[in-house]
Symmetry: C2
Subunit: 347 residues, 2 copies
């Protein structure tokens, strides 16, 4: 049932294989399990740049000593009631989020809303896996984190902000949630790199060079800065993320994360903030069911020919859940090599 030269694996089989690779590289079970779930989710949803492709960067970050592979994240005691704080202890962010979300959900149901703060995490992924952990609890979610400084503020000339993703989710009973997750830069840094490798000019408005002048040359852009999406509006949102998910939570801003890491090729260390909202609590005593009313809005969007964000991702997921994930022979060989060599497989 699959093309010659490819191997069909179930999601559970792929999870087991990736966990084994990460364990071989020195991650303890709590790190390996959570990180593998994020990587496998990306592959399952056909997000090529957030799937198995990420394993190499994860191993390189471990090998460089920029993440603590044996960290056990801990819930911090003594916080204000609306704040759930998990100290990731310089391990990856994913296991800290998995530890915190059930507590976050209990608080949000009781108080109406609550925040999960992850401190001292190492982040390599999109935010939608984290958003979907919260929507899976029947709660709306807003998630933000800084990155490392590669984006100039609107009107500026040098990198200062990160690509600072902004993500949101709304639970849809009985189906995949409404989820968006995007960089607050015009494009992701990887897209600029892809243009450079292909020898293609960037679209206008993506970047400035090291002197702060607009450029369409990808090499000049990588030496300069990317631009925020939507001009001053995206720049303002990126700044908000530095404040709420950096300075406010006592964790690194993007310029600080870049300074600590010393470059942009490994996974950066920084914090993250996840807000959870209970639609039942917010709608209590008011007319109408919030979930049914949201469905009416989604129908009106789709009904005029527009798409909901993540639709392509959810279609890929449905296919992977039904049929498994097809891995090319080269990918299988790469995974085998990671498993055999551990950290010796990467530079």
């Amino acid at each position: 049932m699959h093309a010659a030269g490819t191997t069909l694996v179930s999601i559970a089989e792929l999870q087991e294989r990736v966990e084994a690779i990460l364990g071989r590289a020195g991650l303890n079970p709590v790190q390996a399990g959570a990180v593998a779930r994020v990587v496998v989710a990306g592959e399952r949803d056909a997000c090529a740049s957030h799937g198995l492709y990420r394993i190499e960067g994860i191993l390189r970050t471990v090998k460089a000593g920029k993440v603590e592979p044996g960290a056990e994240p801990v819930l911090v005691e003594g916080e204000a009631a609306g704040i759930v704080r998990v100290d990731a202890r310089f391990g990856f962010t994913a296991p800290a989020v998995e530890l915190g979300v059930p507590v976050l959900a209990e608080r949000a149901r009781r108080l109406g809303l609550a925040a999960l703060v992850v401190n001292d995490g190492t982040h390599f992924s999109a935010l939608w896996p984290e958003v979907e952990l919260v929507t899976g609890q029947g709660l709306a979610a807003m998630v933000m984190c800084p990155s490392y400084a590669t984006v100039a503020p609107s009107g500026g000339t040098r990198p200062l902000l990160g690509t600072n993703p902004f993500a949101f989710g709304w639970p849809r009973p009985g189906r995949a949630p409404y989820v968006f997750d995007f960089a607050t830069s015009v494009a992701a840094r990887g897209e600029v790199e892809l243009h450079r490798r292909a020898g293609r000019a960037l679209p206008e408005g993506w970047a400035i060079d090291a002197e702060g002048r607009p450029t369409t040359d990808p090499a000049a852009a990588l030496a300069g800065a990317m631009l925020p999406f939507g001009g001053h509006k995206g720049s303002a949102i990126g700044t908000m993320i530095e404040l709420l998910a950096g300075a406010m939570i006592g964790d690194l801003t993007s310029p600080e994360a870049l300074e600590r890491l010393g470059g942009t090729t490994l996974a950066p260390g920084h914090g993250e903030i996840l807000l959870a909202f209970s639609p039942e609590a917010f709608a209590a005593g008011r007319p109408g069911d919030p979930f049914a009313r949201a469905e009416g809005l989604f129908e009106a969007i789709v009904g005029q020919g527009a798409r909901l964000p993540s639709q392509r991702r959810f279609a890929a997921r449905e296919k992977a859940e039904a049929e498994g994930i097809s891995l090319p022979a080269a990918e299988v060989a790469r995974l085998d090599r990671f498993l055999a060599l551990g950290l010796d497989a990467v530079a």
Copy 2:
């Protein structure tokens, strides 16, 4: 000290004059006081389209029976601890926000974060006056509300979303806060109207016509739909605002607000959500002072020649506070006419 034909008034004098006009039009003291504070703040900050200019629309909305001028907003009892709900009772939103913010601030300090929900309000203003009430309490603020349906979702063909403003504030001890407040459409509807009156074409990318085709004709745009800022990203944020500040809080979405109002020339009725965050609570136990670290970020933005949002507004405020506000003779005559005629002054 002022140009011939103009009258110089203090902020307090202008507040008194606008309150008197609103009282003459039938607003009770709690409505008149709060609405006048918002209008005068707009004039003080030289936001021409959100200052005294707004009085006529307010009076027309009262005259049309679309707002309850004698409403007394009330705090709703029995909510979850993190939710402060004020029922505006179909009066203006401003007095409901003034009633709720001190309670919101107390909750945010205790819990770390809290939400103020205003239901059944009538909204005519920018969101920054509301943001600044929260930052004035030493808290960070995120504020959202729907509007009426005039914006097509990205990839769509018809009005569905409102211009749905998104606003944020961060307190800066001893100086004006960091504040942004923008429509999630490319442009405000008023800007399209100004192009129509001036007979000028719109920039590309602002709008589509009634058939969903891109247009630069302002009349065709007003008959069609405006577009979200930043393509699918702004569209996603606008949708998030419909969900959080509409469906979730049991209040109208933008298509529902348009249907209830029947047109786009009066102030719309809908809800609003204000989130407040205590930086002290979120930073507790972590290294660094969040306010000092935020100042470092602002210095880095300004230091590379970029501007902070609202800088122009705060400069105008400083001038108005020191020197008063200069009103042209025609504006004084207009105010005198409103005071003399009340609702008979408007159509």
